[in-house]
């Protein structure tokens, strides 16, 4: 039979010779990720065990990873207490893939998983975070689940009642213009197919622009596949995947690349020529309200944010530092930068990017989810406007329903910081 990547992965994980979209399977889970919401997972896990008389043990501690990122260091006593409970559980259950609040191995879950080589092509990865789709960039089938579903995974080691999703093939052709990147391509795609255009489906990314794209860009594509509603984004693993895992993640064991069959059956196919793509902006309050930068150029912004699991990687900070080096953030705005992990932070420190950014007037925050979801730092004032490299601009996302968020690439964010208003980075010099 002819199969897509997700069909191949789910067939193998379910011990079947083949599955097709619509089949219901129970795949074994290779990696189960949670962040602070592990506090709720622990509660639900103990509920499952309640009255069974069984000793409460996770199915395989080596396949569970927990990363504190949403509120680090804790912003409240409540969060600190939740984190304390999770820490105790991690110790009791001997979960080694635990990333506490530390400047050596901390960071955002969706950066830590690739960085530490926890995700491999062909795996089934679940996470109690919607942007778990990110890890499809390494050729895995990675999808977000709720805390109760994770509790069942911790107990049983499988994901129950999974429907094999249909697949949408997205082909990115051509070469990006200077200062146009993966973020612009995925924003453009979401604008085309809408915020529910891939609901209950996988987006498989293909094309020469994806072949040439480093893993850092593929992580952006798959991260934001979620914003089209996708169950997962997947870039079929290739030589670049191997290079990333070997050189950047330090993986030394075998890496098997799961590729789709040539004539695999896709629900639909979408082709985008990226060579004439301009920088793209998602306008308030919808991530699919996407316009070319020229349509919103000059909109004044009060806060600019560079960072997150979408665009807080070393490449992103390099682009921003390259534009801002020797220049100043406009007095009318404020620029907040939060690297995706402490490893990224340290690398950016060594490369001089952080000093370039700080000298331009940027405030460098700690690695973590930061201001993206309005729970920790960088909340917006009433009526304020933000421009951000994060992935969501829902009303109230940055902690204030009476504010607006525009989404963009790191290049747009940096050029706009100089102007104090949305600006086209192709004109920034």
């Amino acid at each position: 039979m002819i199969r897509t990547v997700v069909e191949k992965i789910l067939a193998r994980a379910s011990g079947r010779s083949g599955v097709t979209a619509g089949d219901v399977v129970e795949p074994r889970v290779d990696l189960a990720m949670s962040h602070e919401n592990a506090a709720l997972v622990i509660h639900q896990f103990s509920e499952i065990y309640r009255g069974t008389g069984l000793d409460m043990r996770v199915w395989d501690p080596s396949r569970i990873t927990i990363i504190f990122d949403h509120r680090t260091p804790a912003e409240s006593a409540k969060t600190a207490t939740n984190q304390k409970k999770v820490r105790a559980f991690v110790g009791e259950q001997r979960i080694d893939k635990f990333h506490d609040i530390r400047g050596d191995r901390g960071g955002i879950c969706h950066q830590i998983l690739p960085e530490y080589g926890y995700v491999r092509p062909g795996q089934v990865v679940v996470g109690t975070d919607s942007h778990t789709t990110t890890h499809g960039a390494l050729g895995a089938f990675a999808f977000g689940i709720g805390a109760t579903e994770m509790a069942a995974v911790w107990a049983l080691g499988t994901a129950l009642n999974v429907e094999v999703p249909g697949t949408i093939k997205v082909i990115l052709r051509g070469r990006f213009a200077a200062r146009v990147c993966a973020k612009d391509a995925i924003l453009h795609l979401i604008g085309q197919i809408s915020a529910e255009g891939a609901n209950f489906r996988v987006i498989e990314f293909h094309g020469d622009a994806v072949d040439r794209m480093p893993t850092s860009g593929r992580l952006v594509l798959c991260n934001m596949a979620m914003e089209a509603g996708a169950t997962s984004g997947i870039v079929p693993a290739d030589e670049e995947t191997r290079r990333y895992l070997r050189e950047e993640a330090g993986v030394s064991d075998d890496i098997e690349c799961v590729r789709p069959d040539e004539d695999a059956s896709y629900e639909r196919s979408i082709e985008i020529d990226v060579s004439d793509l301009s920088p793209q902006i998602a306008c308030p309050h919808r991530v699919d309200n996407v316009k070319s930068v020229d349509a919103v150029e000059g909109v004044k912004v009060d806060q600019i944010v560079i960072g997150s699991c979408t665009n807080g990687r070393l490449d992103d900070l390099a682009i921003a530092a390259g534009i801002l080096r020797g220049r100043k953030v406009a007095a009318s705005t404020r620029l907040l930068v939060f690297p995706a992990s402490w490893r990224v932070y340290q690398a950016a420190l060594k490369e001089g990017y952080l000093s370039d950014l700080a000298e331009s007037g940027a405030t460098i925050l700690n690695a973590g989810c930061g201001c993206c979801l309005g729970v920790h730092q960088g909340a917006l004032g009433d009526g304020e406007v933000a421009l951000s490299t994060t992935n969501r601009n829902f009303q109230g996302r940055m902690g204030n329903p009476d504010s607006e968020v525009y989404l963009c690439s790191p290049a747009v964010a940096a050029a706009s910081a100089i102007a104090g208003a949305i600006a086209d980075p192709r004109k920034a010099g």
């Binding site: 069984l54 975070d129 009642n161 609901n199 009303q395």
Partner: protein, 192 residues
Amino acid sequence: MSKVVLKLGDDVSTDIIYPGRFMATVLPAETPRHAFADIPQFNSRLLKKEIAPGSVIVAGKNFGCGSSREQAVSALKGHELVVAAKSFARIFLQNAVNLGLKTVACPGIEASEGDEVELTVGQGCPVPNASDSENSRREFSPVRVGGGHVINHSTGGRFDLIPLPRPRQEIMDAGGLIPYARVRLLKRPKII
């Protein structure tokens, strides 16, 4: 018969249902107080117990898009609300099934606040045509159970609903994922 107590549009995100700033509150017993915190009039009616259990929220497409936060479901479940939407975002729908929040996917639904509606879940609803171009009609496999419809007694409208696919209905019927998983755990062969 149930009353429509809130009418919302398309793409209602989990940030609207349960704002991120309350995410440190996790326990199902505590989350209901923050349901729709950024729609203060509705939140205060919930807190004053002015909304009867079984009351209906009517929404457009892609209800519950965004975060996987389960608080968005437990907060509504705590008030025993029912959500009737044109379609649901995947993770929200799965969380709703897992926690036993009643949801009704009804692509044609039309209702206003104050309308009296009747939800009938049972046999007799035609399985939507797989070739239908409407996204929300293609989202599930053909393995379905039941059927049903929504009748708006205030307008006389009658709207077919899309039944849950069988594997999700099994979890609902078990009373949610916790009892469902508990049964599976007890059936697991003992590891010696």
